[in-house]
C-alpha cells in the first residue's frame, strides 16, 4: 500500500533499532508512555518492543475511548434503549463492554432492545431518515478525533429538520487526561502514587485536530518531554528515539514527529465547529481516572433539542467496576495487564470483565491477542516473586 508500507519497512526499523540501542544509556531506564491505544496496538501488532533494548519500556496510557468510558454511561445508554424504546446507534467496539449487572449493549440487543452497529455518524443519520417514526440516538464517544464528525451530524440534523435524531454525547478531551496522569506521576508514594514516566509519545490523530500547542504545558509544568507520534510502527520507533535524545540531553520540549499530519495550531476549522456545537462539561467520569474537571464535552444550549440526555432522561447511577478488575490501574499505567488476577483467567476477549479487554486499542486485549507468549500469567509471576 502506497503511503503505508513505507512506514512499516523492516530494514528501516532495524536501522532505527540500532540507533536506539546505540544512544540509550545502559545505566538507566526509559519509561515512555504511549498515550493512545492506537500506539499500543501498533507496538504489539508489529512487535516493536522486540526491537527495543531491554531498558526502553513502553508504558500504556489511557487513550482508548472505549476503555475510559465509565460503566454508568453504558448503563444509561441501555436505559435509553429499554425505557424509552429508542434506536441506539453505536460503534462495534462498545457492544461487548461490560455494563452493570452483567449486562452489555450486545445482551440488551439480544433481549430485544433496538441497538444497531454503525461504522460512521452518517449511518445513524441514514437510519433516522429511513425510519421517521423511530427516535434514533447516536451513542457518540471518542477523543477530539471523532468529535468533529458528531458536530457535522448535529448540524446536518438541524439543517434537514431531522426531529427524530439526537446525540448521547460522551466526547472527552485529551489534555485533561494527560495532565491527570502526569500530576499523579509527581506523587511517588501513597494511594495516589502514579506511574513514573520519563517521556510521552503524544497522540497522533487527536493532534491533527487540536495541534501540538495544547501539550506545551507538559514540559513547563511537569518537566517531561513530549513527542507527537504517528501511528505506524516506524513513527513509534522514531518518536522513541527523539524522546531518548531529549532525555539524554536533560531537555523537555514538545517535538512533532508526525509532521505529515500535525501542525502547531491543528485543524482550525474543526476546532471552530467543536466550539460552536459543544461546551466543556464541569466534570466527567473516566474509567480509571475518576471525575476530572473540564475533561469532556456536552451539547451546547443552541443544539439542546438534539441532546439525547435532555430528550430521554434516565437515572444516573454510580459506576462500580467488576470485583478484581484492574482496568483503572491499567489505564493509569501503574499496572500491566498481566498484573491483574483476572487477566487470561476469567477475563479474555471472548468473555471480557473490563473494557481494556474489549477494544482492540485496549492494553489488555493487545497483550492477550499479540503478546501472551511473552509474559507468564499473573499467578505465575506472583509465585516467582
Amino acid at each position: 500500500m502506497k503511503y503505508i508500507d513505507e512506514f512499516r519497512d523492516g530494514t528501516l526499523a532495524r536501522g532505527l533499532a540500532r540507533s536506539i540501542s546505540a544512544e540509550a544509556d545502559p545505566a538507566r531506564t526509559y519509561r515512555l508512555m504511549e498515550f493512545c491505544g492506537g500506539h499500543t496496538h501498533a507496538i504489539f501488532r508489529y512487535g516493536v518492543q522486540d526491537l527495543m533494548p531491554a531498558n526502553v519500556r513502553f508504558v500504556h496510557g489511557p487513550g482508548c475511548p472505549v476503555c475510559v468510558l465509565p460503566m454508568a454511561r453504558i448503563d444509561q445508554a441501555i436505559a435509553m434503549a429499554v425505557e424509552h424504546g429508542v434506536t441506539l446507534c453505536t460503534y462495534g467496539d462498545l457492544m461487548r463492554v461490560p455494563a452493570s449487572e452483567r449486562k452489555s449493549l450486545l445482551k440488551a440487543k439480544a433481549e430485544g432492545a433496538d441497538i444497531r452497529m454503525i461504522y460512521s455518524t452518517q449511518d445513524a443519520l441514514t437510519i433516522a431518515r429511513k425510519a421517521p417514526e423511530r427516535q434514533v440516538v447516536l451513542f457518540a464517544i471518542g477523543f477530539e478525533t471523532t468529535t468533529p464528525p458528531t458536530a457535522v451530524a448535529l448540524k446536518t440534523a438541524r439543517a434537514e429538520g431531522l426531529e427524530n435524531f439526537s446525540v448521547y454525547c460522551n466526547h472527552v478531551l485529551t489534555p485533561a487526561a494527560l495532565g491527570t496522569i502526569l500530576a499523579a506521576a509527581k506523587e511517588t508514594s501513597g494511594d495516589n502514587a502514579g506511574v513514573q514516566l520519563d517521556g510521552i509519545l503524544g497522540p497522533s490523530h487527536v493532534s491533527t485536530v487540536i495541534g501540538s500547542r495544547p501539550y506545551e504545558c507538559v514540559p513547563a509544568e511537569f518537566g517531561k518531554p513530549v513527542v507527537i507520534a504517528g501511528f505506524e510502527p516506524l513513527d513509534v520507533m522514531q518518536s522513541a528515539l527523539m524522546l531518548i535524545r531529549q532525555i539524554n540531553q536533560g531537555q523537555a520540549r514538545v517535538e512533532n514527529q508526525y509532521t505529515r499530519a500535525v501542525t502547531r495550531d491543528g485543524n482550525l476549522k474543526a476546532q471552530a465547529l467543536m466550539a460552536e456545537i459543544f461546551r466543556p462539561r464541569e466534570t466527567f467520569e473516566w474509567r480509571g481516572l475518576g471525575f476530572l474537571p473540564g475533561s469532556a464535552l456536552r451539547i451546547a444550549e443552541a443544539y439542546a433539542e438534539f441532546d439525547a440526555e435532555q430528550r430521554f432522561p434516565v437515572a444516573s447511577n454510580t459506576s462500580r467496576e467488576i470485583k478484581g478488575c484492574e482496568c483503572p490501574s491499567v489505564l493509569r499505567g501503574v499496572m500491566e495487564p498481566t498484573d491483574c488476577k483476572l487477566f487470561g483467567t476469567v477475563c479474555t476477549p471472548e468473555n471480557p470483565m473490563g473494557a481494556c479487554m474489549v477494544s482492540s486499542e485496549g492494553a489488555c486485549a493487545a497483550y492477550w491477542s499479540y503478546g501472551r507468549f511473552r509474559q507468564p500469567p499473573a499467578a505465575a509471576s506472583v509465585d516467582a516473586a
Binding site: R8, G10, A17, R45, Q49, D50, L51, D123, W368, S369
Partner: protein, 356 residues
C-alpha cells in the same frame, strides 16, 4: 413422474399457467406442499439441477454407495447480500460443502439442498440463485440429488437461506485429518487471503466504498485431487472460511497439539484487500475465504506439494507460509514483516456477521 409409453394423448397440463419468472415473487403457497410448490420444483429447481437421481421424483434419492470410505459434511448459508462480486448464495452453497468434503482428500459425489425462502423473494432472484447452483455443481462434478423448499413469512427470513449436505468418497491410502500436523511439517496456503470477506463488505449498504475485489468463492476438489496425486501423504487440509487463516490455523494447532510459526511476508494478500482492511480496522488474517485451502505436509514434501499447487489454476499463488513447531501452549506465532514477533490468536467475537 412416471411416464406411460403407451399413452396416446398428451398428458393434461398440471398447472394453469407457467411460473412468472420475470415479475413473480415467492409466496406462502410455494412452501405449502400443494400444486404451487410442485410447479416451483418442476419449472425452476428441476430445470437447473436436473440429473437422473433427482428425476426419480421420490422423497429420497436411491443410489448404490461407491466402494471405499465415505465422508459427509453439512453447511448452512445465510450470507447477506445474496449476490456479491464474484458469486452468490447459490454457488456458495455448493462451494462451501464441496470444499468441506474435499478437505478430507475426498472426491465429492452428491449434494442435497434445503432452501428456506422468505415470502416476497423475486422468483427472478431465486432462478438466478438456483441456476448458479446448477452451474457450480456441474463445474465441481457433483449432482444435487435431493432437495426441500420451505417458505417463511415476510420479515422472518432474509430472502433465502440454503443448507447443503455433501457426500464424497476418499481414495484408498489417503489419511487427511486435523490432528496430523507434526513439528517440522510445512504450512502452505493456496492463494491470497481475505478476498471473500472484503468483497462482501464492499457491498454492505452502510459501507460506502467500492473495490475491485471479487470473492474467491470456488470449489477446490480439483485442486485437492492434483495435490494428493503429487503428495498422497498430506497431513492436514482445511479451508479457512469464517475466522480466516488465523482462526483455522489455531484450530489445527489445538487439534494436533502443536504450535505454529508463520512468516508474515510469505502470506499472500492482495494490495486492494490490505488497503480495505487498513481502512476498516480489520486484519486480513481474520477475514473469511471461500476458495482457499491450508495444507500441512512433511517438510521434505513441501516443495513438491507447492509445485503441484502452483501448476493448478486454483493454486497459482500458493505459498509456504510457515512451519509446525512443538509448543505445549499450542500458540500460533508470527515473525512480522517489521522484524518483531507476535502471537496470532483465535478470532474474538464477531468480526463480520453473515459472511457465508
Amino acid at each position: 413422474m412416471a411416464r406411460h409409453d403407451t399413452q396416446q394423448t398428451p398428458a393434461p397440463r398440471r398447472f394453469a399457467g407457467r411460473l412468472d419468472l420475470e415479475h413473480g415473487t415467492v409466496d406462502m403457497s410455494h412452501g405449502s406442499g400443494g400444486r404451487a410448490m410442485a410447479q416451483l420444483i418442476d419449472e425452476l429447481f428441476r430445470v437447473h439441477l436436473e440429473n437422473a437421481l433427482l428425476a426419480q421424483g421420490n422423497d429420497q434419492a436411491l443410489f448404490e454407495p461407491p466402494p471405499g470410505r465415505l465422508v459427509a459434511s453439512t453447511d448452512g448459508h445465510v450470507i447477506s447480500p445474496l449476490f456479491f462480486p464474484g458469486g452468490d448464495i447459490g454457488a456458495l452453497a455448493v462451494h462451501g460443502t464441496v470444499n468441506d468434503v474435499a478437505m478430507a482428500g475426498a472426491r465429492p459425489l452428491y449434494l442435497t439442498a434445503s432452501f428456506i425462502l422468505e415470502e416476497g423473494l423475486p422468483l427472478a432472484d431465486l432462478e438466478r440463485i438456483v441456476a448458479s447452483m446448477g452451474g457450480a455443481a456441474r463445474a465441481a462434478g457433483v449432482q444435487v440429488i435431493a432437495g426441500d423448499t420451505k417458505v417463511v413469512e415476510r420479515g422472518k427470513g432474509d430472502g433465502c437461506f440454503i443448507s447443503t449436505t455433501g457426500i464424497g468418497v476418499v481414495p484408498d491410502g489417503i489419511q487427511i485429518s486435523g490432528d496430523r500436523a507434526r513439528p517440522g511439517d510445512a504450512i502452505l496456503v493456496s492463494g491470497s487471503i481475505g478476498d471473500h470477506g472484503v468483497a462482501i463488505l464492499s457491498k454492505r449498504e452502510n459501507l460506502g466504498f467500492e473495490t475491485e475485489i471479487a470473492s474467491d468463492s470456488q470449489s477446490l476438489n480439483d485442486l485437492v485431487a492434483a495435490m494428493i496425486e503429487a503428495v498422497p501423504d498430506i497431513h492436514c487440509l482445511r479451508d479457512p472460511t469464517r475466522g480466516g487463516l488465523a482462526t483455522t490455523l489455531n484450530e489445527l494447532a489445538l487439534q494436533s497439539r502443536v504450535g505454529m510459526q508463520l512468516r508474515e511476508p510469505a502470506i499472500p494478500v492482495r494490495a486492494e484487500v490490505s488497503a480495505a482492511c487498513e481502512l476498516l480496522g480489520l486484519d486480513p488474517l481474520y477475514v473469511a475465504n471461500e476458495g482457499k485451502l491450508i495444507a500441512i505436509c512433511a517438510g521434505d514434501r513441501a516443495e513438491t506439494l507447492l509445485a503441484a499447487m502452483r501448476a493448478h489454476p486454483k493454486g497459482r499463488e500458493a505459498a509456504i507460509i510457515g512451519q509446525v513447531v512443538a509448543d505445549p501452549h499450542q500458540f500460533v506465532q508470527m515473525e512480522t514483516a517489521f522484524g518483531g514477533s507476535r502471537i496470532v490468536d483465535w478470532l474474538a467475537g464477531e468480526q463480520l456477521p453473515r459472511i457465508c
